[in-house]
Structures are given as structure tokens and as C-alpha cells.
């Protein structure tokens, strides 16, 4: 097994979940209605827990303690896509990102449930079922808001337009696509993107929204290689603030 390739894959997945999980948690106490407050808080808890399970596998492969790895790295050492680090913005953007991200992530774990790397396959079997609920939630709101008032429809279309190139950046090819595929560890970002398009399109149509014209597609890349927006460093500092005060403290 190509351990370097596996680690690369695990890091980007874990970082996506950790960062989107923290962004979700920023809605705690601020959700537009109580149920939505609870929904984003629950998804935050799920995602950070799932990130923890992946950091645990990395630890078994020789990487640092999960807490240390999660809270002590600076932005340039993180492998999340730039999409997940963007600030929450308003509810329209948060829901749209949630929709685009969770469809991709749920499919990713579905594909990984058959991975030849057994520890990841086991965790993926569990996580794909949990993410189903996140996807249900996102679908409901995208369709509801897309068919709501003129304002909600316009806001959702703007959110989709602004998200799109960042969303395409989620599928940035890694350095080990070939190795992962030839060893049946992961079918690769391109295969994932194709499935993602097929899954999101019917919901976008149901919401009466339009995917931006293909001539404008320009995936925003770099996140997987440690290039990020300035938002990420601020976020990791805030996230790790307490842990960094005394990394040896017992909780």
C-alpha cells in the first residue's frame, strides 16, 4: 500500500471536515430559526467527529496525536479546499455551500466504503450513512428557497454563482491520483466530480436555479497544496487558541 498517497488523501478529507465543521458551528446561537440553529450545530458535531476519526487513522499511520494535528498546524500546512474556509456569509451562501460540499463529501465516502484500504473503508461505511442526513437537509432548503420569494430565488442564484468555481476546486487533483486508483484505494477526483454533477443537477433544476455557463468555469485551486485565502489562518488561530495556550493540558 502506498502510505504516502493514503496520508495525502486522508489529510485533505479530514481538513475539509474540520474546517467546514467549525464554520457550521459558527451558526450556533445565530441560526435564523431554532431548528436551523440545531441543524448546523448537529452537523458541526458530526463533521468534527468524523474529522477526528480520520485523524485517528492518520495517527495509526504514524502522524501526530489527533488534537495536536488538528489544532497546531498553520494554514499553509492544511489541505482543505478553499471553498470550506470562506466565511459563512449570509444564510443563502451557507446553505448553498452546504449543498455543494455535502453532496461531494457523501459521494466521496460512498466511493471509499469499497476502498482496498480497510481502516478507511470501515469508517467510510459509517460516515456515508451519517452524511445522508446532511444531504437531505441541504436538498430541502435549496429547493425550498429556490422556489420561495423573488428575493430568496435571486439570493440562491447569486450564492450558486459565487460558490461555483470554489466548488469545482474541491476536486483539485492530488499528486497520487494514479497510485490511489491502481491500488483500488480511491477512484479519484475526476470520477467523484462526474458523480457529483449527476447528483446535484436534478436538485438545482427542482430549485429553478441555473448552473453557471460552462465557459465561465475556472476551478479555484491550491487549497490541497497549502495555498489558502487569508480567512483560513484567522480561523485556525481562533480554533486552536485554547489548545495552544497549553498543549499538554489534560481535558
Amino acid at each position: 500500500m502506498n502510505v504516502t498517497a493514503i496520508k495525502d488523501l486522508l489529510y485533505k478529507m479530514a481538513d475539509d471536515l474540520l474546517i467546514i465543521g467549525h464554520r457550521n458551528s459558527e451558526w450556533t446561537g445565530l441560526g435564523p430559526i431554532l431548528e436551523e440553529d440545531i441543524a448546523f450545530s448537529s452537523m458541526a458535531q458530526d463533521k468534527i467527529g468524523q474529522a477526528g476519526a480520520l485523524f485517528e487513522i492518520l495517527h495509526e499511520l504514524g502522524e501526530g496525536e489527533p488534537d495536536t494535528v488538528a489544532f497546531m498546524r498553520d494554514a499553509n500546512k492544511m489541505h482543505c479546499s478553499q471553498f470550506v474556509e470562506l466565511p459563512n456569509g449570509e444564510y443563502d451562501f451557507s446553505i448553498m455551500r452546504h449543498f455543494l460540499f455535502d453532496h461531494a463529501d457523501q459521494l466521496r465516502f460512498e466511493m471509499l466504503a469499497n476502498s482496498s484500504f480497510e481502516p478507511l473503508a470501515q469508517v467510510a461505511k459509517k460516515i456515508k450513512g451519517e452524511l445522508k442526513y446532511h444531504v437531505f437537509h441541504a436538498n430541502t432548503w435549496v429547493v425550498k428557497l429556490g422556489n420561495g420569494s423573488e428575493e430568496s430565488k435571486a439570493r440562491m442564484q447569486t450564492a450558486l454563482n459565487e460558490s461555483w468555481n470554489y466548488a469545482l476546486g474541491m476536486f483539485e487533483a492530488g499528486d497520487f491520483e494514479k497510485e490511489l486508483q491502481s491500488e483500488n484505494i480511491f477512484k479519484g477526483e475526476e470520477a467523484l466530480k462526474t458523480r457529483w454533477m449527476a447528483n446535484i443537477t436534478p436538485f438545482i433544476e427542482k430549485a429553478n436555479l441555473k448552473i453557471p455557463d460552462q465557459s465561465t468555469w475556472e476551478p479555484i485551486l491550491g487549497g490541497r497544496k497549502g495555498y489558502h485565502t487569508d480567512y483560513l489562518q484567522k480561523l485556525v488561530e481562533e480554533m486552536g487558541e485554547v489548545f495552544r495556550l497549553d498543549p499538554t493540558a489534560q481535558w
Binding site: 441543524a39 458535531q45 458530526d46 468524523q50 461505511k125 459509517k126 445522508k132 442526513y133 437531505f136
Partner: protein
């Protein structure tokens, strides 16, 4: 020396910290018991949800119970070797949930659909004239519903594949 069956029976008194009518055995989260020698027991557990915050506490509760019956060497490990899904709840477990006022999860065929989530049976009056308000609730394993017949809100222990 204890038999494995005796250990399983002893663990039946260890309850879910959030649902005190439900034992961890009936919940289906204890996946393996091994008697490794005189006074040496190994137990494997698996979480209902990956992000379940009660996990460490539950490991400790299992270890405490084994200590109580006189086991000296105890190892409790959490793994995903046999991942949990809601079909693993025992019949007694489903009844315990109902007694606690929670709608038990319907049996699934390996796929969770919107249809399965809507119209779950109201644990108060038995009606199916209910609607799901949100797939998220006070804990990761519960969703929130409303019954149009007895006009009460209730929670369901979510079906999970």
C-alpha cells in the same frame, strides 16, 4: 472464570447515559466480548454516530461494571470493524425507546429515504398522521417530529444505515 455469556448478562445493566431505559447491549453498540483468561476481559464497542460525545464516558461505564463484578484486567476498545446501524437495536431495545417517549427507528433495507423518515409512528398515540420537522435534534441520533392527531411534538431515534 466467567463465561462470555455471563459477561454479556452483566453488561445488561449498563445504560445509555442519555436514554436511561436503554442498555448498551440492547442498543447494539457492544460488538464483541472476549474472556481472555482468569479475570481478564476484552470488550469492543462501536459508536452510533462517529461524533458521539458520550463515547469515552460509555467506555468507562463498561469498564466500571466489569470491575464491579470482580474482573481485574479490562480492556475496552472502540472500533469501526462492525459499524453500527439502527437495525442493530434489539426488540427489547426498541421497546425501551418507546417507553422513554422516543419513536423507535423503522427497520431499513440498507437505504435511508425521505419516505422512511416522514410519517413515523407517534410514540404517544400510535398515529401515523405525523410529519418530520427536522432531521436533527437534541442529540445526533434523534430527529424531531410532530403528531397531527395528538398535537404533540416528539423525537425519533433516527434510522441509520
Amino acid at each position: 472464570m466467567f463465561t462470555e455469556k455471563e459477561i454479556w448478562t452483566a453488561l445488561e445493566v449498563v445504560k445509555d447515559p442519555e436514554i436511561p431505559t436503554l442498555s448498551m447491549v440492547d442498543m447494539g453498540i457492544i460488538t464483541k466480548v472476549e474472556v481472555r483468561g482468569e479475570s481478564n476481559v476484552y470488550v469492543e464497542m462501536t459508536p452510533t454516530f462517529t461524533g458521539c460525545p458520550a463515547l469515552k464516558m460509555m467506555e468507562n461505564m463498561v469498564a466500571e461494571r466489569l470491575k464491579e463484578i470482580g474482573i481485574e484486567t479490562i480492556e475496552v476498545k472502540t472500533t469501526f470493524d462492525t459499524p453500527w446501524n439502527s437495525n442493530k437495536l434489539t426488540e427489547r431495545g426498541l421497546l425501551c425507546l418507546k417507553k422513554h417517549g422516543l419513536a423507535p427507528p423503522p427497520k431499513h433495507e440498507g437505504e435511508i429515504t425521505m419516505e422512511l423518515l416522514e410519517h413515523c409512528i407517534c410514540p404517544h398515540c400510535g398515529s401515523i398522521n405525523t410529519e418530520m420537522k427536522t432531521p436533527f435534534g437534541p442529540t445526533l441520533c434523534r430527529s424531531m417530529h410532530y403528531c397531527h392527531d395528538c398535537l404533540q411534538a416528539f423525537e425519533q431515534f433516527k434510522p441509520v444505515v
